[in-house]
Symmetry: C2
Subunit: 160 residues, 2 copies
């Protein structure tokens, strides 16, 4: 199969809205707390914890960087919960998502940006760049099968 | 009132256990995900979302640094939920907590460490050091009065 080229676009709230949330201070609602010493950029992600006995998990994911060009061959989704990834070291990373038609879109998340995939949104597993990268991960724990994978009928190349 | 000196100790899971969780990879349970390209340090904080219509919030807090010496005069607590703070830039920060007797303990959180205050645990608002510091914040949203403050009968000095 001949891969097609998947262009990479900047990550913006508007472009990403059909798939989830961009977690960043820029453009976010904020207000002072702690007697004015701290500014709170409030409620940046819709955390979805579906099904009985669901709970929120806070984890750290350490991802090895991919080499470019990289071929996107599969996607996954989580029917029972959202999944947020926020870089702990400010490193950029790639985000690939798709709608029900499995036509992917690729975004470059820059320093200061994290993402939250909404439940049931197709996305590629972590695509770190440049160096091993730590992410804070907020997702769902609990009973039930919460991961589906699909092999894409068309493969896609991410280039530098 | 003459403040007393509050010594600062290293932040360890064991010392912090009565108050909450230390969010760090060191010593945490972990396993590979994403076909082995990512290591997941799993379920590092007990996220408590109490009361009806509670939900998890993901926010970013930007804290101005304190100047040392700093006087601890008050603490707060959240009866309806936990509150996790994880530095997004790897900066160290100070953590002050207390049991029901309001006798405080101070910890220095170093690069790679975050904390999760359990519900109803007395703690000081964010104490950033060195420079304005961003934290990812995971706490509880929903109806109900979720913040109590107390003025300490004894003041405490945090020194360098």
């Amino acid at each position: 199969m001949m891969p097609a080229l998947l262009p990479v676009q900047p990550l913006t709230r508007a472009a990403f809205a059909p798939f989830g949330d961009v977690i960043e201070t820029a453009g976010a609602r904020h207000f002072p707390i702690n007697n004015g010493t701290t500014e709170r950029y409030h409620d940046l992600a819709r955390v979805q914890l579906l099904g009985p006995e669901a709970r929120a998990l806070v984890s750290i994911a350490v991802a090895q960087p991919i080499a470019l060009p990289f071929t996107v061959r599969m996607l996954e989704r989580h029917p029972l919960g959202s999944q947020a990834f926020v870089p702990l070291g400010g490193r950029r990373f790639l985000v690939v998502v798709a709608g029900a038609d499995l036509q992917p879109l690729a975004f470059l998340a820059c320093a200061g940006q994290g993402v939250n995939y909404h439940a049931n949104v197709w996305h590629h597993p972590l695509l770190a760049l440049d160096a091993p990268s730590e992410f804070l991960l907020v997702d769902r724990g609990g009973p039930g099968d919460n991961c589906e994978e699909v092999n894409l009928p068309q493969h896609w190349t991410l280039a530098a």
